[in-house]
C-alpha cells in the first residue's frame, strides 16, 4: 500500500511541478508575439485493484496543449496582408501629396497663376522689357516646377522599386525560416508530441510573411505548412522556392518564383501595395502631368506661333521639332505631314504667311491649304518657297527652316493687309480687265485669248503644259501662261493673279493707258468681257482698318455693282462677298459717301475708298484675306516654329531658349505694331478657356489632379483605418483565446502550489504510517 501511496504522492508532486513550470512558461512569454497560452492536460491515472477494491493510482499528465483558435489565426494572417498593402500605399501616396505643395500656393497652381498674372500686367505695356522678362521668368519657374515634379515622381517610382526588391529579399529569408520550422515541427511531432512553441513561431513567421506578400497556406498531414503565392509554391515541407524580382520598365517589376517563366501577380501585402503604386498609380499621375504639360505646350504655341515679336517679323526661323525619316531613305521631304513623326497632330487647315517689305512697309499675305493626309513635307516647303522673297528647307537634323530675303521679314499673324489692292485691279491707275469669278477656271488647252496691244492684235493660246489640271486652272497658272506670250510685255500689257482671280492690265498708269480684249474662246471660262478699258489719273486707294473679330478665316471679295465714280455716281455700291459667294455687306459709295472716310463693313473691319472710277464691266475687284487664326492647321505647332514652349511632356517642357535669352522674342503682337497685344490677349484668355484635350481649363485640370490625389490619400487612409480596426478586433479575439492573463496564471500558480504542498503532506502522512508500522515491528 505504501508503495502505491508514495507513488501517488510522487506523481502529484511531479504533476504540480510540471503545472507550475507551464505557468512559469506562460508568464515568461506573456509578452512574446504570437505566443499561445499553454496548459497542462491532466487526467486521473488508471485504478489498481487492491483486494477487490479499485483504488485510483493518482494523477497523470497527458500533454501540454496550446490554446488557440485556428480560424481567427488564419484570418489574422491574411488581414495583415491587406493592411500592409494599404499602409505602404498610404506612405507612398503621402510622398506624392507632399510633392504637390498644395494647397499652400507653392505648387504648380500658384506658378500658373503667376504666369498669367505677369502676362496680364504685360498687356498694359507690351514693349516693356522688364515686364516681358517677368513673363519669361514666370514661365521658366513653371517649367522648372514641372521638371521637378516629373523627376521626383520618377524618383519615387525608383524608390518604390528599390523597396520592392528589399521586400523580396525579406520574403526569401522568411521562406527559409518557415522551411526550417516546418522541418523541426515534423521531426518533433513524428514522436507524437505537439511542438507548441515552434507552431507559435511558425504562425508568427507566416503573419510576417503575409505582411510582405499576399499568400495562401495549408498545413499538410505531416504538420508542415505549404505556402503558395499566386498559386505557386513558395514554401514546402522541406524546401523553399526563391522569389526573384526583375525590373522590366521603370517602376515595373516582374516577380517570379523558382525561376518559372510565368510572372506572378500579387495585389496584397507590402509588395502588392507598392507594385500597384509603382506600376500603375505613379505612371497615372505622371501621365496626368504629362498631359497637362503637353496641352500647355500645344495651346500656348497655337497662340504664340501666330504672334509677332517686339522687333517685328522674322528674317529666319528654325523649327524646334524634328521630322522623322519614316521610310529611312535619307530624305525628309517625301514624308506625308501626317506621318512625319511630329509630336503634335496637324489638322486640315490654312496657314497664312505674311511677307513684309522693310522698305515700303507693304505686306503680302499668302495662304497655304494644309492637308496632312495628302501634303508631304516637300509640298509644304515648296508652297512656302513659292512665296516671293521666302525660302524654306529642312536641315540635316530634320528641322524646318524658313528664310526671308534681305530687306524682307515674315510672320504668320492674323494681321490685316491695309492696302489690299496692290495690283490696282479696283479702279487703279492702270487700265485693267478682270475675271468676274474666282478660281478654278474651266480653261482648256487650245482655248484662246485675243488681245490688242501697242504693237497690234495678238492671240494667246493656252497649252496643256500651262496647267497642273487642265479645265481647272488656277489664277497663278493663267497669269503665268498669259505673261509668257511674246507679245504681252512688248504690247504694254501684263496679267496678274490676285486672290484667286486674274486680271489683264496695262503697264502704264493714267488716263491714256488702255487695254483691249478683242475676243477668244477662253473668255467665257475666264469670266472676262471683250472690250476696252482705260486707265485713270485718280486711282482709287483702298485702305482697310480695324481688326477682324470673325470666328473663321475667310477671303472677302469686293466688287462694284456698276460703273461709276466713288462718292459721285448715284446708286454706286460695293458688294462684299465671302469665299462662298455669300454677301457680307453692301457698301454705299454713292453721292452720300465722302471719299476717304471709313465705312464699316462688319466683323470689326472698315474700309475707305479715295475718289476714283470703278467699273463692273471691266470686272474690277480686290480681295482681302480676313484671318481669325493665322494657322488653323497647327502646322507651326507641330514643326515647332515660333513656339513658346518646346518639348512634349512634363519632363521636357522648356521655355524656348531664345525667348528666355531675350524676352523681346516673345511674339505678342498680332499686327506687327509694337504696342499691339492681340496675341498676348489670346494667351491670357487661355487662363479660363476650355482646352479640348483636358475637358476643362489648364488650371481646372490641375485642380482635378490635385483633388484626385487628395481623394486617393484620404480614401486609402480611411480603408487603412478600417483594416487596422479589423486587425485590432481579430487580435483581441486571438488574445481572448490564446493570450496570457497573469492574474489567471497566478491563481493557477497558487492552486498548484497548494496541491504541491498537499501532495508533500500526503507523502509525509504515508511515511508516518510506514514509520508507525515499522515501529510495531
Amino acid at each position: 500500500m505504501s508503495s502505491v501511496g508514495l507513488n501517488i504522492g510522487l506523481k502529484a508532486l511531479l504533476t504540480s511541478q510540471a503545472a507550475l513550470d507551464t505557468i512559469g512558461h506562460n508568464v515568461a512569454n506573456a509578452n512574446t508575439p504570437g505566443y499561445s497560452r499553454q496548459r497542462l492536460e491532466l487526467s486521473s491515472d488508471r485504478a489498481l485493484s487492491l483486494g477487490g477494491v479499485r483504488v485510483g493510482s493518482g494523477v497523470r499528465t497527458d500533454t501540454v496543449e496550446r490554446t488557440f483558435d485556428s480560424f481567427v489565426t488564419r484570418r489574422l494572417v491574411l488581414q495583415h496582408s491587406t493592411r500592409d498593402a494599404l499602409q505602404n500605399r498610404l506612405q507612398s501616396l503621402g510622398a506624392v501629396e507632399a510633392l504637390l505643395g498644395e494647397p499652400d500656393g507653392f505648387g504648380l497652381g500658384g506658378l500658373m497663376d503667376e504666369l498669367f498674372s505677369s502676362m496680364t500686367t504685360l498687356s498694359t505695356d507690351t514693349e516693356d522689357l522688364v515686364l516681358r522678362t517677368s513673363v519669361t521668368q514666370s514661365a521658366s519657374n513653371l517649367t522648372e516646377q514641372m521638371h521637378q515634379l516629373s523627376t521626383e515622381l520618377g524618383q519615387l517610382r525608383e524608390d518604390t522599386s528599390d523597396k520592392i526588391r528589399a521586400f523580396v529579399n525579406d520574403v526569401n529569408v522568411r521562406a527559409d525560416q518557415l522551411v526550417e520550422l516546418n522541418k523541426e515541427i515534423s521531426r518533433i511531432e513524428a514522436t507524437g508530441v505537439s511542438a507548441n512553441d515552434l507552431r507559435d513561431q511558425r504562425e508568427e513567421a507566416l503573419r510576417e510573411l503575409a505582411e510582405v506578400i499576399e499568400i495562401s497556406f495549408q498545413e499538410d498531414d505531416g504538420g508542415a505548412v505549404r505556402v503558395l503565392v499566386d498559386g505557386r509554391l513558395l514554401v514546402g515541407p522541406t524546401q523553399s522556392n526563391e522569389l526573384s524580382a526583375e525590373q522590366t520598365a521603370p517602376g515595373e517589376i516582374e516577380l517570379r518564383i523558382g525561376g518559372s517563366s510565368q510572372p506572378i501577380e500579387v495585389s496584397e501585402g507590402a509588395i502588392g501595395g507598392l507594385r500597384e503604386f509603382g506600376a500603375s498609380y505613379i505612371p497615372g499621375v505622371m501621365n496626368q502631368f504629362d498631359e497637362l504639360a503637353r496641352n500647355m505646350i500645344l495651346e500656348f504655341n497655337r497662340r504664340h506661333s501666330t504672334g509677332i515679336p517686339r522687333q517685328g517679323g522674322f528674317d529666319q526661323l528654325v523649327g524646334s521639332n524634328r521630322l522623322q525619316d519614316g521610310d529611312q531613305d535619307g530624305d525628309f521631304r517625301d514624308e506625308l505631314l501626317r506621318s512625319a513623326g511630329l509630336p503634335f497632330d496637324i489638322q486640315s487647315g490654312r496657314l497664312y504667311v505674311n511677307v513684309r517689305s522693310e522698305a515700303s512697309g507693304e505686306v503680302d499675305t499668302q495662304r497655304i491649304e494644309v492637308d496632312p493626309s495628302s501634303m508631304t513635307v516637300g509640298d509644304l516647303l515648296d508652297e512656302i518657297s513659292s512665296i516671293d522673297n521666302l525660302s524654306a528647307s529642312v536641315d540635316s537634323f530634320g528641322r524646318v527652316q524658313i528664310f526671308a530675303d534681305s530687306g524682307f521679314s515674315f510672320d504668320f499673324s492674323s494681321r490685316l493687309d491695309e492696302h489690299p489692292d496692290v495690283a490696282g485691279t479696283f479702279g487703279g491707275g492702270r487700265a485693267s480687265i478682270s475675271s468676274s469669278e474666282g478660281e478654278p477656271f474651266a480653261v482648256l488647252p487650245g482655248d484662246t485669248l485675243e488681245l490688242s496691244g501697242l504693237l497690234g492684235n495678238f492671240t494667246v493660246t493656252f497649252q496643256a503644259s500651262d496647267f497642273a489640271q487642265p479645265g481647272s486652272a488656277t489664277a497663278e497658272e493663267l497669269a503665268a501662261a498669259i505673261n509668257s506670250s511674246p507679245d504681252m510685255i512688248p504690247g504694254g500689257m501684263r496679267a496678274v493673279a490676285q486672290g484667286g482671280q486674274v486680271a489683264i492690265q496695262s503697264q502704264l498708269t493714267g488716263a491714256t493707258a488702255q487695254v483691249e480684249i478683242v475676243g477668244g474662246s477662253a473668255l467665257g471660262a475666264l469670266g472676262m468681257n471683250a472690250g476696252v478699258s482705260m486707265g485713270h489719273d485718280a486711282a482709287v486707294e483702298v485702305t482697310m482698318s480695324g481688326s477682324y473679330t470673325g470666328e473663321a478665316n475667310d477671303r472677302w471679295t469686293f466688287r462694284p455693282n456698276m460703273d461709276g465714280q466713288i462718292g459721285t455716281t448715284p446708286g454706286l455700291q460695293i458688294e462684299v462677298l465671302d469665299e462662298g459667294g455669300i454677301p457680307v455687306a453692301v457698301l454705299d459709295v454713292g453721292p452720300s459717301y465722302s471719299p476717304g472716310n471709313e465705312i464699316e463693313i462688319g466683323e470689326g473691319l472698315s474700309a475707305s475708298f479715295s475718289f476714283g472710277t470703278v467699273s463692273a464691266t471691266d470686272g474690277d475687284f480686290f480681295t482681302e484675306e480676313v484671318i481669325a487664326d493665322g494657322d488653323s492647321s497647327d502646322v507651326l505647332v507641330a514643326l515647332g516654329l515660333n513656339s513658346f514652349f518646346t518639348g512634349t511632356d512634363a519632363a521636357s517642357i522648356e521655355l524656348r531658349a531664345d525667348i528666355s535669352d531675350d524676352a523681346g522674342n516673345l511674339a505678342l503682337s498680332s499686327s506687327g505694331a509694337a504696342g499691339d497685344n492681340g496675341a498676348l490677349l489670346e494667351l491670357i484668355a487661355l487662363q479660363q478657356e476650355t482646352v479640348s484635350g483636358l475637358n476643362g481649363s489648364l488650371t481646372e485640370f490641375y485642380g482635378d489632379v490635385v483633388g484626385d490625389i487628395g481623394f486617393e490619400v484620404s480614401s486609402t487612409r480611411n480603408s487603412l483605418e478600417v483594416e487596422e480596426f479589423l486587425v485590432g478586433e481579430l487580435t483581441s479575439q486571438r488574445e481572448q483565446v490564446a493570450g496570457v492573463n497573469i492574474d489567471e496564471e497566478l491563481v493557477d500558480m497558487v492552486r498548484f502550489e497548494q496541491s504541491y504542498q498537499a501532495a508533500a503532506q500526503f507523502i509525509q502522512t504515508v511515511n508516518q504510517l510506514m514509520n508507525e508500522l515499522m515501529g510495531i515491528l
Binding site: 507632399a98 494647397p103 497663376d113 498674372s117 498687356s123 490635385v706 487628395g710 492573463n741 497566478l746
Partner: protein
C-alpha cells in the same frame, strides 16, 4: 464567449487609447500653430478641391487688379497731356482772335503768327508725348511718333503716322478696357465732309466727289489778256502784269472821262502827259487787275470785253490751261493722291486759292495755316485773309471739339477702371473669405476639440494606470 482580457491586450488597449488622443491633440496643436484646417489635400479632399478652385479664381482677380493698376498711369499720363493740349488750344484761339483784329500792324500780326507757330510745335510735342518708352497717341504703333512732319507741295505738314488700333487690357473676365486714344481722332476732325474753296478766284467745287485731307493751295495764274481794244487804249506791257482771268467788261465813259473794269470803281482817265497814263491800273470788284496804256486815248467811248487767259495747277509746278467752260475739271495731286473736281466757269482772277478738305484737317496744320495767313506773304487784302482765317478757325474748332471728347473718353475709362477695381476688390475680398472659410482652422472649435481630447487622454491615462497596477501580485506575498 466571455471577455477574457489578457495583460498584453490591456496594455495594448491602454497605449493605443493614449496614442489616439495624443494624435488628436497633436493635430489640433498643428492647426492652431498654422491657423490652417487643411494642410494637405487629403486632410479634406473636397474642401481642398474647392479651395484650389477658389485660389485660381482669386489668382485671376489678382492679375486683373494688377493690370488695372498698371493701366492707370498710362491713362492718367494721356489725360494730363490732353489737358495741357486743351489749355494750349484755348490760348491759341485767343491769339487767333487777336490776330483777326484789323487794327494790328503787319508786325503785330507777324509776332502773333510766331506765337502760333510756337504753340503748334508745343502741340505737336504733346501729340508725340510718351509714357515710358511708348508713344501715347500713335495707336498700337507705340514705337514710333504719332505725327511726323513731311514736306508736301512746299509746305511742312504734320501727318499721322500711327494706326487706328486700340490697345486693350484685360480688366476682368471678358472685360477689356482700351487704354489709348488714337491721335488721328483727338488731333483731327471727324473725317472728310466736303471741299471748301477760299472764294478768292471765283473757282467753285465741281460736280464730282473729291478726296484728300488737310489744306492745299490751288494755283491759278494769268498768262495773257486778250480782247478788242481801241480808241487808242492798249494793254500796258502786253498785259504781263494783269491778274484777270475770264471775261471782264471794260467800259469807257467818254462824257465823264472815266474808265471801269467790270463792277470795279470808275477811274478818271489821266491826260496823256500825266504820270501813270501809260500804266493805268484798273481793278474789278474781285480785286483782279488790268494794266492799260491810256496815253493815246482818243476821247471816244468804248465798251468791250477783256478776257484773261490762264493756267491752273494743284501742285504748283505743273500747270494746265484753264478752259472757262469746264464745270468738272479733275485735278490730282501727284504727291498725295488728293483729287479735286473744280468748276472754272466763274473764275475771275488769278491767285492762290485755299482748298480745304473740311473735316479732315489736323490741329497742327490749322495752326500753321492760320499763322501763314497772318503773315500774309501773298499780300492779300487783309479782309480776304481774315475770311481765310475764319474758314480755318472753323476747322480748328471742330478738331478742338474732338480733342475734348478724347479727353472725356479717357476720363470715362479711368472711371471704368475704378469701377472695375472696386468690384474686383469686393469679389477678391469675398473669395479670400471663402478660401479662409474652407482652409482656415476655426480656432474655437479646434481648442474645444483639443480640450476634449486632453480630458479623454487624462481619463485614459488615469484608468490605464489603475488598470495596469492592479495585479494579484500585490496581494500574494
Amino acid at each position: 464567449m466571455a471577455l477574457r482580457p489578457t495583460q498584453a491586450f490591456t496594455f495594448f488597449q491602454v497605449s493605443s487609447g493614449i496614442q489616439y488622443n495624443l494624435e488628436i491633440m497633436a493635430r489640433a496643436q498643428q492647426q492652431v500653430a498654422t491657423g490652417k484646417r487643411i494642410l494637405r489635400p487629403s486632410d479634406d479632399a473636397v474642401g481642398s478641391s474647392i479651395s484650389l478652385s477658389l485660389r485660381r479664381q482669386a489668382g485671376k482677380i489678382d492679375s486683373y487688379l494688377e493690370s488695372i493698376g498698371a493701366a492707370r498711369p498710362t491713362l492718367a499720363t494721356a489725360a494730363s497731356e490732353l489737358q495741357q493740349a486743351s489749355t494750349l488750344l484755348t490760348e491759341a484761339r485767343a491769339t487767333i482772335i487777336q490776330g483777326m483784329n484789323g487794327t494790328n500792324s503787319p508786325d503785330d500780326r507777324a509776332a502773333l503768327a510766331d506765337q502760333l507757330d510756337l504753340m503748334r510745335d508745343t502741340l505737336l510735342g504733346i501729340a508725340n508725348s510718351r509714357s515710358g518708352e511708348r508713344y501715347l497717341f500713335s495707336g498700337t504703333e507705340t514705337g514710333s511718333a504719332a505725327y511726323v512732319e513731311r514736306d508736301i507741295g512746299g509746305m511742312t505738314r504734320a501727318v499721322y503716322d500711327g494706326n487706328e488700333q486700340r490697345q486693350r487690357v484685360v480688366a476682368g473676365l471678358d472685360v477689356e478696357v482700351e487704354i489709348n486714344v488714337v491721335g488721328a481722332e483727338v488731333f483731327e476732325g471727324d473725317g472728310y465732309a466736303s471741299t471748301l474753296y477760299g472764294s478768292l478766284t471765283g473757282i467753285q467745287a465741281g460736280t464730282t466727289a473729291d478726296s484728300g485731307t488737310g489744306y492745299y493751295d490751288l494755283f491759278l495764274r494769268h498768262t495773257a489778256t486778250v480782247g478788242a481794244l481801241g480808241e487808242g487804249i492798249q494793254l500796258a506791257g502786253g498785259g504781263a502784269s494783269d491778274t484777270i482771268l475770264g471775261d471782264h467788261a471794260l467800259v469807257v465813259d467818254a462824257a465823264a472821262g472815266t474808265i471801269r473794269l467790270g463792277t470795279g470803281p470808275e477811274v478818271s482817265i489821266p491826260g496823256p502827259t500825266e504820270p501813270g497814263s501809260d500804266n493805268l491800273v484798273l481793278k474789278d470788284a474781285d480785286g483782279s487787275e488790268v494794266h492799260l496804256d491810256v496815253s493815246g486815248w482818243t476821247g471816244n467811248g468804248l465798251s468791250t470785253v477783256l478776257t484773261g487767259e490762264g493756267e491752273i495747277s494743284f501742285d504748283g509746278s505743273s500747270y494746265q490751261a484753264i478752259d472757262f467752260t469746264e464745270t468738272d475739271l479733275e485735278l490730282v495731286h501727284p504727291d498725295t493722291g488728293a483729287v479735286i473736281h473744280v468748276d472754272t466757269t466763274s473764275v475771275s482772277r488769278e491767285g492762290r486759292e485755299l482748298v480745304t478738305f473740311s473735316g479732315a484737317t489736323n490741329l497742327f496744320d490749322s495752326l500753321a495755316g492760320i499763322a501763314q495767313d497772318l503773315r500774309n506773304p501773298d499780300g492779300l487784302e487783309f479782309s480776304r485773309a481774315i475770311e481765310r482765317i475764319q474758314d480755318r478757325l472753323q476747322e480748328f474748332d471742330d478738331a478742338t471739339a474732338n480733342l475734348l471728347s478724347g479727353l472725356g473718353q479717357l476720363g470715362s475709362r479711368v472711371s471704368r477702371l475704378d469701377n472695375a477695381e472696386t468690384r474686383l476688390s469686393d469679389v477678391d475680398l469675398h473669395l479670400q473669405g471663402l478660401i479662409s472659410e474652407e482652409e482656415d482652422a476655426d480656432i474655437t472649435e479646434v481648442i474645444l476639440e483639443m480640450t476634449r481630447a486632453e480630458q479623454t487622454l487624462n481619463v485614459a491615462q488615469a484608468t490605464g494606470a489603475r488598470l495596469i497596477q492592479n495585479t494579484l501580485l500585490n496581494y500574494i506575498r
